[in-house]
Point group: C2
Chain length 397, copies 2
């Protein structure tokens, strides 16, 4: 009862999140948009900006559930995109990530220059804008039925590479900004370890996936033993990814990808999808309920930097990734779709921003810009991807 | 990344729990015992008594997941036992609960008297032994395929009534032990509110279940909207149950029961079962990993009280519930099965014990007895129920 009483209020908060999220999802999808947009709107309504039901304390207590939600979603996305397809699109992915990082870093730097910021601030702003957060795009791709399309593999591959690339950019930026010498060697080691880990992981897991699957089917006589252990493997890889400075979603995606071609993949996808269907809603609601945006909107003097940051952040990924996609052989509509798929920014951008604050090179107006950016891309990405998908897939709106 | 890094180690712990639990489950079920016994053993192995991997901090951080596990299990059990069956067995349930409470309270009191304890301690010991924890029995019934049998309804109904009855016994005990006057009125109000809430809840929810279901099927066009909202309703009722001093599992069971006869019940059971299959393992592992039992076993002077408490606690429920079951018309094997189904004690007994410590009427040797009791019943219940089920169901071992 002691533990029960402490947990009771969290259960109520969880119930409110689920009910409101599902109602918004149904409403939004009835309007023709991806359900995840409903989660985002539910989060904004329940969060500190409007109803203020989801207090920071509740958000923090539900942190683990939220990460389970996004990890399960990325595992499922990996299962659905297929390893072979991922490998086939890898050269597209590489150029898309490269174009996006280059463009967002330099356009971020230029934006800082235009706003009259000193050089270290410009550098950090560039680094902040580099970091794409792929969770939202994955959910939209899944919602609109695009997840098994080759273009989904290109975008998700690019998002994975963006994670590694962002690590390098951030490392370089910190090296240049901090006074304690460059330490490029450390950076190269960090990035090298991350890349080596990821490449080894994905190849080794895929190579052994058929064997592991056979072993699991021989071991698992009880219902859901196989799914439970696959889920546990995903959690372990997510943990390991964080340890090598990658994002945990990137690790979760790798596990799904590695097992995407085992014999029982379809059955696993079908049954496992319940978990992300419940828990990824929690992720998106809580992500959108993270911050009270009102204080940032009431500072009129922040208006110009906010607009500049938001516009540059969005334009830079569309231009950089889109151009790279076009050059690597995709159609114009596909390239635009790709570029839009790479615009979401979320927690990683916020973490880099806090780092910049800690180094004393970023100010509150940049924080305001990044926060508004997160909300704008959260709402814009589902809407734009849905419209572009009608063109890419050749369906009439 | 900030939040990701903080959560990474929990993900690893979670993965370890799931893998070890599932391996033990498979092993145990291969030996012919219910998988949940594997979870209990996994918890003992991983917990502070042996490997000490699951530190108190981890156990605490995973608290919410654990409760989600047991809530989802009880919701499923409610769906599977069927409302009509529950109502039909209610008179059995009443006498079983009544017999068990009476017998365990008075035998607990007598045990205290034999051990030479003062009267307040005897009273509290009686109250401690009253509280049956039904989670384990539910899982065993489900594991051995007995959950849809009328006897499961009798036992689960008795467990629900035991929760209300335990509330009354505890209230009376505290009133007698505490010096601040009897306050029997407060107790009657508390118990009255709990009973009224539960009866109203279960009847109202069941009465409106067909309507809610129709509304849900009309609303829910997206995959798993219906299941998500049913789950949210369960969480809300669990919360409300705690608020009226009932256990949250009792509330979760009521929701499952109320919806057990809607048209899509079978499909919900089939799909939803993934959640308890993953998360209830976490509940049982963490419950068994809660306490380091070594210090209690090394005190030789505790040996006699421990043995007396464990034997009396087990015997009193088997005798009280079994006799009542027999008198209300069940066969000898069924009555024994019922009695054994009511022996598990868990957190509630521990909470009442802490309350007794706080009132200064219980000592460390009683705490030791209750803790060993929890472990003994956790291991004994699955084994005994499995063997008895072979007789009750008329199957050969």
């Amino acid at each position: 009862m002691a533990s029960e009483a402490a947990v009771a209020d969290l259960l109520l908060a969880l119930a409110v999140i689920i009910v409101v999220a599902k109602l918004f999802e149904e409403l939004i999808s009835w309007k023709g948009y991806p359900p995840v947009l409903g989660d985002i709107l539910a989060g904004i309504v329940l969060g500190p900006s409007i109803l203020d039901i989801l207090t920071p304390n509740i958000v923090e207590e539900l942190d683990l559930l939220k990460w389970i939600g996004i990890i399960s979603l990325l595992f499922l996305a990996g299962m659905e995109t297929k390893f072979t397809e991922f490998m086939r699109s890898l050269h597209h992915s590489f150029w898309i990530a490269f174009g996006g990082i280059l463009s967002s870093f330099f356009m971020g730097y230029a934006a800082g220059f235009l706003l009259g910021y000193p050089q270290p601030t410009c550098l950090f702003l560039g680094a902040v804008l580099t970091a794409t957060s792929v969770g939202l795009t994955v959910k939209v791709l899944s919602d609109i039925g695009a997840i098994a399309h080759p273009i989904a593999s290109s975008i998700l591959g690019a998002a994975v590479l963006d994670d590694v690339g962002g690590l390098i950019v951030l490392g370089l930026t910190v090296a240049m900004v901090s006074s304690g010498g460059a330490r490029i060697e450390d950076l190269l080691v960090t990035a090298g370890v991350a890349i080596a880990f990821y490449v080894f992981l994905i190849l080794a897991l895929h190579r052994s996936s058929a064997g592991i699957w056979r072993w699991l089917t021989r071991l698992g006589h009880l219902q859901d033993t196989i799914i439970s252990i696959l889920f546990a493997i995903t959690l372990i890889v997510a943990w390991a990814s964080v340890k090598v400075n990658l994002s945990l979603v990137v690790g979760a995606y790798a596990v799904g990808l590695a097992f995407s071609e085992v014999r029982g993949a379809r059955a696993v996808i079908e049954r496992f999808s319940l978990i992300p269907n419940i828990f990824s809603s929690i992720f998106f609601v809580l992500s959108a309920a993270m911050i009270d945006i009102k204080p940032y909107l009431t500072h009129l003097e922040y208006l110009v930097p906010i607009i500049v940051i938001v516009v540059v952040a969005i334009a830079s990924k569309i231009i950089g990734c889109g151009l790279a996609a076009k050059l690597s052989g995709l159609s114009i509509a596909e390239s635009l779709f790709t570029g839009v798929g790479m615009i979401p920014r979320a927690e990683v951008a916020l973490v880099i921003t806090s780092l910049g604050l800690a180094y004393g090179v970023l100010s509150d107006e940049v924080v305001a810009g990044v926060i508004i950016l997160i909300y704008v891309t959260s709402i814009l990405t589902p809407i734009l991807l849905t419209r572009l998908w009608r063109i890419v897939s050749g369906r009439k709106g």
